[in-house]
């Protein structure tokens, strides 16, 4: 890459500084050096802090909802407030938490490191994306103060054009947040194409990066449609343009097409990065080369593509034509294929591996279990005839919480623990990590398994009252949600403890093989003090660790220097 006239590349091993004095954390000091940083690692942490904050806010709202559902009649809030709370819970969790969660936080931090780059391609755009995100969040806040929104996070017309609540500012918030998401995706695509270190061919890229690539493609292709959708909705409210509003000759079902053309692919923006983390975890903690590298890598792209063909499975009872319902139901089944491919390859990777049940691996196993339930129920409700019965019931609520919380959030927690030593330079307490993982796993199931049962018996979603027969299950679910809250508090405690009092982390505590572990913990300002050269795949646990720490040697260095063919076939 550096000099195209050369046929060979001179490389040598670079030792890792286990006690770095100068790191990205102390490179510059002061709050402003954080708020206006262009360092992808710091921006990753800014995003991490922000999404955790919104996860907390969304979580509190969820606990309010669950508390209201303790009794069949009104418990703590009235119907209108309940509508606003579930709308806010959904909108915050989707647009402010889960969409940016893995890519913008962990992805921002690790994508450049995993390809041996100093930064993403457009560092200032990266910072802009975070500021735009904050700006969008402020708009959402403004909407909450000025009357909130009670349409559900889906903003369906015609209700969203009639309700007296603050829809326009919320749609503008969504518009702005979409822009931030686009900038992240754009940055990642260019970075992966242009900034890979010598030797890091597409076939040697960690699977987390393949998944971020697929995610970025979806972000680029789907988010603009969300932008125009919410813009048209705002215009519908402001001017009454009559495109979606039936009382003006518009078509509300068309709104649903627009909305789901973005929002179904968006569920893959949420889950595909999680798949990437799981690939890293399963290989690392099974100490085994990933099984079916290309199958996993390409299935991410396949999911990204097929994800664009199935949006109408959210609209089976909307009044869309029978023809399109049948086609959408048929196409929906195809999504299961690449997803299944991944699950089988992960399981095959673990087979005969030396599995180390560290906290991140426990999360990976929890993911396999929970996501499989979420995915399989997805296939069930993708079937037209079954969907007609289950649509808008708690069955749907359970389905998407199993994929989004049981899938994405659990995987993100796994990734957070896996990379915690690298990001902070501190180790967390393994014992409490495992206990907490167990608490979260059990209480999650306690919360959402009953919802499948209630949904199948006809409990509709988005109601604050219900018939008495469901009270037992609802209360069980509510208690589960409280325990879930306890689990997160436990995590917050031991992670904060680790931050201040935890033991120092070595550079590579898990004996992983990908590049981000081949520099000190925490990394230095430029990630690497040399230009890394990649000889082996990211999961080649059978190759000596030394060969993963190669970098371009200077002209003057003669001992230990190896000459390699620059473009091995």
């Amino acid at each position: 890459m550096a000099d195209s006239s050369q046929k060979t590349l001179r490389i040598r091993e670079f030792p890792i500084d286990e006690n770095p004095g100068h790191t990205y954390l102390n490179h510059e000091k002061g709050i402003l050096s954080w708020l206006f940083t262009v360092d992808h690692k710091r921006i990753g942490l800014l995003y991490l802090g922000s999404v955790i904050l919104f996860f907390f806010v969304g979580g509190m709202l969820a606990l309010l909802l669950r508390t209201e559902l303790l009794t069949p009649a009104q418990s703590i809030v009235d119907a209108d407030t309940y509508n606003q709370i579930f709308t806010l819970h959904g909108a915050i969790m989707i647009f402010l938490f889960i969409i940016p969660s893995i890519p913008a936080a962990l992805g921002n931090f690790f994508l450049p490191m995993m390809i041996g780059a100093k930064d993403v391609a457009f560092p200032r755009l990266n910072l802009a994306s975070w500021w735009i995100y904050i700006f969008g969040a402020l708009f959402a806040l403004y909407s909450i103060i000025t009357g909130a929104v009670d349409t559900g996070w889906t903003f369906y017309t015609p209700y969203s054009t009639q309700t007296g609540t603050s829809v326009v500012s919320m749609t503008l918030a969504v518009f702005i947040l979409g822009f931030s998401s686009i900038l992240t995706g754009l940055n990642f695509i260019v970075t992966l194409h242009k900034l890979r270190s010598p030797g890091l061919s597409w076939s040697k890229m960690p699977l987390f990066l393949w998944s971020l690539y697929a995610t970025a493609v979806i972000q680029i292709l789907a988010t603009p449609i969300l932008a125009i959708t919410v813009l048209l909705l705002a215009m519908e409210r402001i001017l009454g343009i009559g495109i979606f509003d039936p009382s003006l000759g518009g078509d509300p079902v068309l709104f649903q097409h627009f909305f789901w053309f973005y929002s179904h692919p968006a569920v893959y923006i949420m889950i595909v990065p999680a798949f990437g983390i799981i690939s890293e975890l399963i290989s690392t903690y099974s100490r085994k080369t990933i099984f079916g590298y290309w199958a996993i890598a390409l299935s991410s792209l396949a999911i990204a593509f097929i994800g664009f063909l199935v949006w109408g499975h959210h609209m089976f009872v909307s009044g869309q034509s029978e023809l399109s319902s049948v086609v959408f139901s048929f196409l929906t089944f195809f999504v299961g294929v690449p997803t299944g491919i991944k699950i089988f390859n992960w399981v095959a990777t673990m087979y005969k591996g030396s599995i180390d049940l560290k906290t991140p691996m426990l999360y990976a196993l929890a993911f396999l279990f929970l996501f499989t339930i979420g995915g399989l129920t997805g296939i069930m409700i993708g079937a037209l005839s079954i969907n007609v019965h289950l649509h808008d019931t708690y069955y749907i609520v359970a389905h998407f919480h199993y994929v989004m919380m049981g899938g994405t959030v659990i995987a993100m927690l796994g990734g957070l623990h896996h990379w915690w030593p690298k990001m902070t330079g501190k180790m967390y307490n393994e014992f409490w990590g495992r206990i907490t993982c167990g608490v979260i796993f059990l209480s999650f199931n306690m919360t959402f398994l009953p919802q499948f049962i209630m949904g199948s018996q006809g409990m509709p979603r988005r109601y604050f009252n219900y018939v008495d027969q469901f009270q037992g299950l609802h209360q069980f679910s509510t208690i589960g949600s409280y325990l879930l809250g306890v689990g997160f508090v436990m995590m917050a405690v031991y992670l904060l403890w680790s931050l201040f009092k935890g033991p120092k982390a070595p550079s590579n505590p898990w004996k992983a093989r990908s590049l981000e572990w081949m520099t000190s913990s925490p990394p230095t300002h430029h990630n690497f003090e040399y230009t890394p050269v990649i000889l082996h795949g990211p999961y080649d646990h059978h190759k000596p660790m030394k060969e993963f720490r190669m970098g371009v040697a200077e002209e003057s260095e003669s001992p230990d220097v190896i000459e390699i063919d620059k473009d091995p076939a």
Binding site: D119, V190, K194
Partner: protein, 218 residues
């Protein structure tokens, strides 16, 4: 094709995370193309709405389009094509280090863009004068079709969003003129001018579709 090629020479704008100028230039351009994709898709949403409604109400589109002035639309098409040419000439001039000429071409582009907006302004005013407003404020009764207002809503959304892009383009080109005056762009580094040019051409391409779809329904 007798087109020349030159290698870049001056090194000055290289950011630390790139290996060389070419890598940086190619990265920026790829980033710009990806951004243009999002623009196409955002406008695309409006085209989809157009297609759906035209398929539902062909008579509405035929009838209402007669209100639009083909001559003005065609003039604007010519104006935008001319501006696409001038911005392309500006980029060529920068590449050849003829900064003065580049500034003049960019100024011409802004002028043409301004012309486009002025013509658009008169078109809008003419419509408003008749009571053809977007959405519910529509009061014109010269059209039979009960959904006439819906056609004009689509018309205003499409041309309005396009108009906003024209204005953004004018601002960007103005900024490039300032950069050129300060000597910040030259044959060795002209990435921002190149990307502004790409943006401007896209604005032209979108109009190329808007013109026949809105004005030329017969």
């Amino acid at each position: 094709m007798a087109n020349q090629s030159v290698a870049t020479e001056k090194k000055s704008h290289l950011q630390h995370h790139f290996v060389d100028e070419d890598q940086q230039f190619e990265s920026s351009k790829m980033g710009m193309w990806i951004f243009l994709v999002t623009e196409v898709l955002m406008f695309g949403g409006l085209f989809v709405a157009y297609i759906i409604y035209r398929a539902w109400h062909p008579d509405l589109f035929y009838e209402a389009a007669q209100e639009l002035d083909v001559a003005l639309g065609a003039t604007n098409t010519v104006v935008l094509i001319a501006s696409s040419l001038t911005i392309a000439l500006a980029i060529r001039a920068v590449q050849l280090d003829k900064i003065k000429a580049a500034i003049n071409y960019m100024a011409a582009t802004i002028l043409l863009a301004g012309t486009f907006m002025v013509i658009k302004y008169f078109e809008y005013m003419d419509k408003f004068g008749k009571g053809i407003y977007p959405g519910e404020s529509y009061t014109y009764d010269g059209l039979e079709h009960e959904m006439a207002a819906n056609f004009f809503s689509i018309y205003y959304m499409m041309t309005g969003l396009h108009g906003i892009h024209v204005v953004i383009g004018m601002v960007l080109i103005g900024w490039m003129i300032i950069k050129a005056k300060k000597g910040l762009v030259h044959s060795g580094y002209y990435t921002p001018v190149e990307n502004t040019g790409l943006f401007w051409h896209l604005v032209d391409i979108i109009w190329i579709f808007l013109f026949p779809l809105l004005y030329l329904i017969d």
